[in-house]
């Protein structure tokens, strides 16, 4: 992956009537990068994608692909590929013609089209299926045709619009592996839009989290998961436990912050923006919690009552109720014997370095900590 900038978006804005879908955003994608945009419904990620594709006309802003300004350029000249959520394979054509569509439209010579299509068919492992009608294909095969249809054109950017949305989990898993594998082998630049942060975490080199038309954070999956810059990101990416609190003191020697909440006083690693008296959200991820006797070993502890246990195969998710009636979740892997039963009270513990203090609710102005905690 070189550091050439494949896509540069500057001050992109789009509104539909009174609704601002995309609120003046700017970002870059590098050549060969797998870039994901995630966010809740209505955050503007699909509109952003469609503006880059040329399917929507932005109100303002510029988009440069390979240095070329594509604003105002009609869709068919932008040299991109796209995999749609409903795939949109041409129903009146067979597999071969679907894939050959692009090359035929741009005027590739006939004999070369056959070679190029056969090559891509091999790449996505659809050999022998060239004659099939689209209706005769399985879900996975259709996905691969959609990928092939774009890849055969060697697109500048391969756009994905929630492609795995309408699949059962098993197929989705397999397709994610295939897409990741294809990306590794072919090295295309990908812009992948989804509301499913798991897909983004699995596939992407970098993730951009959007909320109400604005960018909350851009970073690698690790950065976004371990160091969320806003409460919104912390909540959206993975599961997280949050309590409202206030910073009591900052210990510069031990590099700790002391936080007071209505269920106890806890410690978190020091953060530059935190000042005494500041209203913050105290955060710790479920996988970092210890339950029961071993919780005693840790610096941070609370009492909680087990209200639910969900066995998920790889792990078990425990749901606890704290003394202020708020919920805490813990994730225990490979539970050998049951530690406690539903209804029992126990202690939860965690290390200071696994906690975080988040002061910024969201990049959206006018939202405070409480409102983001409530899920706005």
């Amino acid at each position: 992956m070189t550091s050439n900038k494949k896509l540069v978006v500057e001050n992109l804005a789009k509104r539909f009537g009174k609704v601002i879908a995309v609120n003046n955003i700017s970002f870059e994608i590098f050549d060969g990068e797998f870039f994901a945009i995630i966010g809740p419904s209505g955050c503007g990620k699909t509109t952003t994608l469609r503006c880059i594709a040329g399917l929507e006309n932005p109100d303002s802003g510029s988009m440069l692909i390979d240095g070329l300004n594509v604003s105002g350029m009609p869709t068919y000249k932008r040299g991109m590929g796209m995999v749609f959520q409903d795939l949109a394979l041409f129903p009146h054509m067979n597999v071969f013609d679907n894939i050959a569509f692009g090359p035929r439209m741009i005027g590739r010579p006939k004999d070369e089209i056959k070679n190029e299509v056969d090559e891509v068919i091999g790449l996505v492992r659809l050999e022998g299926l060239g004659d099939r009608r689209i209706t005769e294909l399985s879900g996975g095969e259709k996905q691969r045709v959609a990928l092939a249809r774009s890849l055969v054109l060697k697109p500048r950017i391969l756009l994905f619009d929630e492609p795995l949305g309408e699949m059962d989990p098993a197929l989705r898993e397999r397709m994610m592996v295939e897409i990741k594998d294809l990306h590794r082998r072919v090295g295309f630049t990908a812009l992948y839009v989804t509301h499913d942060q798991e897909q983004a975490m699995t596939l992407a080199d970098r993730i951009m989290v959007m909320n109400k038309g604005c960018i909350e954070q851009i970073g690698t999956p690790e950065e976004v998961y371990l160091n969320p810059t806003t409460l919104f990101v912390a909540k959206f990416v993975g599961t997280i436990n949050l309590i409202r609190g206030k910073v009591i003191s900052i210990d510069k020697n031990k590099k700790n912050i002391e936080v007071e909440t209505d269920v106890g006083i806890f410690l978190a690693p020091m953060q530059d923006e935190a000042t005494a008296g500041m209203s913050i959200a105290y955060a710790v991820r479920p996988e970092n919690l210890f339950v029961g006797k071993e919780a005693a070993n840790y610096a941070n502890k609370i009492y909680a009552k087990l209200t639910n246990r969900t066995y998920r195969g790889l792990d078990t998710e425990y749901t606890f109720q704290l003394s202020n009636d708020e919920e805490f979740k813990a994730l225990i892997q490979e539970e050998r014997e049951r530690k406690i039963e539903v209804g029992e009270e126990t202690t939860l513990g965690w290390r200071t370095e696994d906690a975080a203090v988040i002061s910024k609710p969201s990049v959206i102005r006018g939202l405070d900590v409480d409102r983001v905690l409530l899920g706005e």
Partner: protein
Amino acid sequence: MNKISLLIAVYLGATIFLVYLPISHLILFSFNKISSLYYPFNGWSFKWYEAFIEDPAIIISLRNSIAQAIITTIITVIASTAAALAFRRRFRFQNPLFYIILLGMIYPGVTLGLTNLIVDVQVLNLPLSIWTISFTLSVWCIPFGLIILLMRFDPKLSRYEEAARIHGASEWKVFRNVTFPIIKTELIVVALFAFTLALGEVFRSTFVSPPTSPVLPVLLLSTLASYPPTPKYFALGTVIAVVSLATILTGGAIMSRRGGLLVRK
């Protein structure tokens, strides 16, 4: 079958029977050996069919009818397809425009014919011809076409067009390679529908029909008003009825193949 269904079936059956009874009578007597409309039936003969083929007035007006129906069909298909494709998206004055187009269907036939006559002759100074008839009838047929298409268009059509555009197809190529092949069948349905409507139309065409070379319904109206009918007219009527029925049934069969009559599967 429950009671209500039975009642409806009986009612429907009775209505169809009563409506088609006079027509069946005429069809039967078009094969009658002598020129009589009354029972008893004298025997089978094709001579009235030969008679109407040899009647120049009938043949000319039949030709006019068919010509006008074809032109109307072409205009209707092109206009209603363009409109249906456009109406998928939101645009300014979309609703008022839709109602104006629909007006063509609702406008009373006589009024439409008369106003067209006035506009053609006095305002535009056009001689009455097959073309004036066609344009008038198109105003009536286009809303039918528009509604049929809007209801039967594949909702994913816009999606396919987007996919085509992304993968290198300019607007015309999108239409030719994706849109048209997909909507082809619906266009045939509209064509069949428009043809049948235009062929049988009397009121609107009466006014804008050239007096010396009228279309068939007009000819029949004027002839039968003055002279007692000979069975050659029934022979003609039978032929037209059969052709119209065949056309409508073909259209219906095509539509049913992909779901119900008006709803796409």
